[in-house]
Amino acid sequence: MKHYSAFAVAREALRYHTGWERAWRSPEPKKRYDVIIVGAGGHGLATAYYLGKNYGIQNVAVIEKGWLGGGNTGRNTTIIRSNYLQDPSAALYEKARSLYEDLSQELNYNVMFSPRGVMMLAQTQHEIRGYQRTAHANALQGVKTEWIGPERVKELVPIINIDGPRYPVLGALWQERGGTARHDAVAWGYARACSAMGMDIIQQCEVTDVRSENGRVVGVDTTKGAIDCDKLGIVVAGHSGQLAEMAGFRLPLEAIALQALVSEPIKPCMDVVVMANTVHGYMSQSDKGEMVIGGGTDGFNNYTQRGSFHHIEETVRALVETFPMISRLKMLRQWGGIVDMTGDRSPILSKTPLGGCFINCGWGTGGFKAIPGSGWGMAQLMATGHSPLTEAFTLDRFKEGRFIDESVAAGVAH
């Protein structure tokens, strides 16, 4: 793998950038791998990467139906934070956030992690109590967050209207080291690093069946032929149910649309990520200058990657009310993604009824921020059979009534 650096760019510039090699190879599948990961999104690629890096398992294929990073990894609002309430969530997301801190150096690929700070506004007494609760929990979980008052909110976000007529801003939960990253680059960086370890990333290859013998997975059938494996990881947000069915089990999931939009780019005016959960909207400014805006999910089962416009309306009016100066900005583009929702809105990272087969799904609206932590935990689970990061997120928790509910402290899962 050719090392990326300013020097390398300068050297290549002199020869008109003719010397750059492929970021990842484009191999044909081998007959057999130790591990097959289905799904070359951020989570799948990160799982493969940490299998290789932490456990030396490098005979790995990552199989992708479309193009790598082409699912929700490439269509989210790029927020990274770990100010979750419940212990298992806080552990997982903080692991991810801390890995993001060094990810560019680790992968030698600039994922542009920008720890500009994430702020969750409290606009009711109930939210104040919820976020103070989160701040207390975070302190014990090793997650650095703090409760800040409205003056500090205004100082950090000069464009905010803290005394709107409907919901004045009463304070906020502030995570200084939360922020954003370049979503595509996360997938690309992991893919390049996986490929450099000798792993095969096989794009345009659809899994058509999962093969098993005596209750254990032995391989998959694909549009590029049959491939054998010892272990199989299914990491295909939006299509998990279909893959699970091939593997002979069912998942407690529903697929629904989540929408987002960006404004036209303007000069920097908002240096942090702001989430306003009472009014259902959140906003940050991208490195291109676009205001990146997200809101709630649609209500019905949907596989179209198109949402209903009234959700965009609800989000936009909330943000215009919160940041009145954006009223004359224009929406440049809106889009939707399909997210898997579980019964408690928390993900599933788990063994499955099929031996050797593991599942990572149900990230709902908040998967991007978890990518490195999820990959780390899944790799540990798949390599050793146990991971403290994933142990609460098992498939059987719904049967036991053991939920991981983040909505309790006025929090949301974005």
Binding site: G241, Q242, R250, P252, L253, E254, A255, G299, F300, N301, N302, Y303, T304, S308, F309, H310, T342, G343, F398, K399
Partner: protein, 109 residues
Amino acid sequence: MLVLTCPYCGVEAEETELSAGGEAHLKRYGPGSSDDEFHDYLFMRENPKGVHFERWRHSNGCGKWFHAARCTQTLEVFGTYSAQTTEPPKEVKNAISAKRPGWSWRGHS
């Protein structure tokens, strides 16, 4: 932005008058049921790519719950019908069969 015809008040209601209520025709399991039955009743949804039977409430309207048969991939609506039934009526099933030959759901087709 869907439009569904409320079978109770006859209005072609757009989505903002409606509330989605998830999968229809669930059988309730109460005390005495097994853990698996109860788990499946609460959490295990069909989540199909294709024909879906689902519940809606005309909440900004007549307030009634009704059922819809809808394709989750094209959003085509095959029909709406009363919520006071444990299975889709024949005309709805026929409408689906006409559009999705070979379709079946829990033994219905």
